[in-house]
Amino acid sequence: MHLSLRVWRQKSASAPGRFETYEARHVSPDMSLLEALDGVNEDLIASGGDPIAFDSDCREGICGACSVVIDGIPHGSRHGTTACQLHLRHFRDGATITLEPWRARPFPLIKDLVVDRHAFDRIIEAGGYVSVKTGGAPDGNAIPIPKTNVDRAMDAAVCIGCGACVAACKNASAMLFVASKVSHLSLLPQGRVERERRVLAMVRAMDDAGFGGCTVTGSCEAVCPKNIRIDVIARMNREYGRALLKGGSPELAL
């Protein structure tokens, strides 16, 4: 098959950006979209051009590195699929595919399709952990955990931190990302000990990073490659309210 790729090119955050169109000839339906980009880059390198910068690592949909808006949708239109797992069999022969970076102020652009997602690391640093040191942990079976709770915790813990939820949201809200971690840990007895401090600190870090508020449009859920549901946001809101009622204050969280 043959595809045209309309790709956002931008040298750096301060340089002006523009779309450029590249022809991906002789691609096969069994190729992934990123493999088609690899092919375009090979041609560009061979002809003395400037290859397209894009993030990608595991190519199995688990590392969360890839981050491309495909025809207006983060990771493309296939439900529950990262860009690296999106294969060309889902596109029409001869189609033009538009590729853009995540566009959100807290994710400044680095080059072409590559953005800086450190804001997510800072949110986890604010409280997305259980404060235990190595050593001295009690037996893993010392506290039985109901299977349903573990399963629900796991449903949230599968977040790969790609940032598609932010890219899809008109407010550039990171609620789905933050709520996934808050839900994962608050559903487990190990994480309950510091649940109030955690949710207050993480929400504050989210706000400080410049992410917008949630207006419950559900666009994050629609694009999440791991099918995380917005129920987690409801759980986080409840955790947040609970923390405030228990006397916590967002200002004291950090």
Partner: protein, 638 residues
Amino acid sequence: MPIDAHIPSGPLERKWERHKSDLELVHPRNKRKYDVLVVGSGLSGAAAAATLAELGYRVKCFCFQDSARRAHSIAAQGGINAAKNCCNDGDSVSRLFRDTIKGGDFRSREANVYRLAQISVDIIDQCVAQGVPFAREYGGLLQNRSFGGAQVSRTFYARGQTGQQLLLGAYQALSRQISLGNARMFSRTEMLDLVVIDGQAKGIVVRDLVSGEIASHAGDAVVLATGGYANMFYLSTNAKGCNATAAWRAYRRGAFFANPCFTQIHPTCIPVGGEHQSKLTLMSESLRNDGRVWVPRRREDCAKAPGSIPEEDRDYYLERKYPSFGNLAPRDIASRATKEVCDAGRGVGPGGLGVYLDFGDAIRQMGIETMRERYGNLFEMYERIRGENAYEVPMRMYPAMHYTMGGLWVDYHLMSNLPGLFVIGEANFSDHGANRLGASGLMQGLADGYFILPYTIGHYFASGRPSKTPADHPGFAAAEAGVKARLARLLSVQGKRTVTSFHRELGRLLWNDCGMTRSEAGLREALGRIPELRAEFWGDVRVSGSGGEMNADLERANQVADYLELSELVCRDALMRGESCGGHFRTESVTEDGEARRDDAQFAFVAAWECRGADREPMLHKEPLVYEEARMSTRSYR
């Protein structure tokens, strides 16, 4: 020349306990005086960085990814072994030890493996305390499944994403230390050289992958947690960014490289789809708890739809050849058996390079929902890549390059022969011998990072009292200049061939001559061709862009240049080791029934290679493998 692994004396089961209490300590107040550089943020690196920071050392951690959370440990699917005997099926530390030694075909270091089995128990507890959501029974207790090479169920798991959950646990522990100011993270930063001063590792040279800036960091110890070199084969199950540069630069600076020819080919991966293929995807070994591997009995049935082939015309070759382990035969053995049936013309799919992994029986017995719960994400992944629904048609699988047991040589303290250079996780060589068992890689990474290195590194500081090296020592500037010159040289060739074309050619060569089976003739041919290919690379490669910007092509070129050296050492080691053992199968050393024939009289040693400069042959050092407890026997899974 024999080398000393510094294995403590005393009975095997008490070595580590006794040794731990003999190790010298650094006073808590003095730990702040030591800088530790941890390169890599996967399971072993993140675990080590977090734990060392908790102890009070000043830690800097480096990774090439944009976040520590994306290291390739995240892709490990099936699980992590631990001798907790939760299933009451007779498991114990000594059984896990024996399974691992046997799985490695008696080419691993006994004392290290025993310690690993002992520590395995603590790892699970640590991870649970961090909030890792391991699968649980309805009663709330931890659940297990089986993995290859074991007859007990000792594998703990979190759906098909165990590596992800364990890595996030370590990443979160590290994040906490970063927020406390005890650790600093340098992401999108790649180590390009090791700085050795007066024979001791004293720092690293790195490139900022965003700005292209070359800088160096001084430290009192350097910890390499940089993974394996499977990507040397171009097509492997590793992430695209995994590379051997840090380990190879350390080798070039004097660290010994051990057993480089011990590479692992995983039996169940999604077959190559075509020339465009950028990497291969593994389907977890755990699937073989319920999936059955088969090919048609007759060659003429190979093109038929699998559902139309009746039971009596199917050959469940693993169950037939290895009745006591069946589909969960170890990886090296299962991979060779698969190659054998495909070579005999009974493979399925394009090119006859595939076998079926069939869940029909399991679905009939337990229902689709149980399968979905156990492996849902893996079936989805398969569907994404192949466009087929494995609940209805069997998966098609073929072996692929997956893991490297070989790596930098380390002693019992996980320190290389260069004082101050520690190597942990897949990057070292010590625990898996000639073949790693499934679900043991995660175990080793976390054992090294959480529970071994934090003790032994303190001993190095306390007992050796290594001298402080100022960051303005000329050794750093010299190493930086070397790195800059090399990158400039790569950019200046401006030839006709792309980096990828060289990498693909090298990969094909290695897969054919140094892959699942190896022969003297093939290895000699490879050893003739690799230097030619290397010369072609340096004479005709085309690297785009400049060094002063984000430039993936330059990063890749630098890595491939190292593969073109490392691959020669791998083939040299494979040629030297004239026996078959584990994943290293020499066609000249085979038993009558086609299994690997080990030669303990000649080859019961670790081959540690010393670099003597680019234009001289490396020197072989032998560390004899002495077994006090395990009995060297012929490995059988029949």
